[in-house]
Symmetry: C2
Amino acid sequence: MAQNIYDKQEFFEGYSQLPRSVHGLAGAPEWPSIQAQLPALKGLRVLDLGCGFGWFCRFAAGEGATSVLGLDLSQNMIARARAETSDPAVRYEIADLEHVELPQASFDLVYSSLAFHYLEDFGRMVRQVYDSLVPGGSFVFTIEHPIYMAPTQPGFRTDEAGRRTWPIDGYSVEGKRTTDWLAKGVVKYHRTLGTTLNTLIDAGFVFDRLVEWHPSPELLAEIPALAEEMDRPMMMIISTHRPE
Amino acid sequence: MAQNIYDKQEFFEGYSQLPRSVHGLAGAPEWPSIQAQLPALKGLRVLDLGCGFGWFCRFAAGEGATSVLGLDLSQNMIARARAETSDPAVRYEIADLEHVELPQASFDLVYSSLAFHYLEDFGRMVRQVYDSLVPGGSFVFTIEHPIYMAPTQPGFRTDEAGRRTWPIDGYSVEGKRTTDWLAKGVVKYHRTLGTTLNTLIDAGFVFDRLVEWHPSPELLAEIPALAEEMDRPMMMIISTHRPE
């Protein structure tokens, strides 16, 4: 089974206090950029991989999605997602994305937010998603950016001239990265951007868009702390589709 | 006109002594990875944008390409390319890629090696290439990697713990970068990977492959100095095609 950090009390408590956990989609600064990549949701059958507290599932149902299935490894998260959802179009299940068997040709949109960097076997996941989509279906996901993931010791530094930098090493050395984020020893899997995109192509997907998320000038004026995000991208949005 | 560094004596002399200038394609460690992305060249009409000394043009003709056109801004390079080429299938012309007007639907393969990071208007170039290809034609190019391009002060550092890093800043701040490489004040244009790929998609191209070049274990054993290339990619190979 994949590492289940979200059911560690320390991590879960920290995660529950993040703006995106308290305020939902509106608390995630990348949300407008994700929305721009989504198809119109009305009438779609939607799958959310790593649904967390269910914010996106409820949003999709609210936009008129016919059915929404949210999967997550965390019992804590699924419990809270169920408690906060009344829309009968939304269903949640506990599932380990490393081993999940998705139903074939069953979804018009597969969505995932910041979950795939926890997966060791991204290729298996991508092939599962491809088969679970109907022809023409969309696959839109966010994932930590490899520039953010790569370093053996991630973190900003300030050099002798006062320049803030994000020192990279091991970009082309793929595999496990252990970091301390909300809890000690959080395991993630670094893959280069090339590997991520080529894995999608090899599975049969057509590439549509790569958004290396950074704040707009307006958002930067509103939240100056986001200036760091101009120096190195923390996450990216990838939009693809299964051809007709 | 674009900056013509190759006709500055200092730059040209330095460039002429690089392994890739002395030994041609065999002197470029990324060449086998580029070759893996190329279609079979026999019978193709080929365009090389930024052909330099003509190594690739002669290779393509040697592989049976029907016609090969090499374009370069540098009079020095075109003069030497012409002097070293006897194959009548190969033709060279001086051209500024920022403003060139390519013939429409005339090529089966457009190739370019490490030239596009000198262009301010990548979108114009890409649209020119698209129109110059026949439907089904291939567009394969290498370009400096944005991780390599982004920093305001590019260069490896060694931190207090002895870790070699490549400090990044300004990744999402696109535009001019002035570096000292072979000559002072070489102007290049940084674009994010997202911008590069999305520009191709917007022009109509289908994305096929992204290779963020790094040495194989065998090459690393042979040339240990290439270990740096595992820490941050210097260049990438992008393979796309114009749909049928």
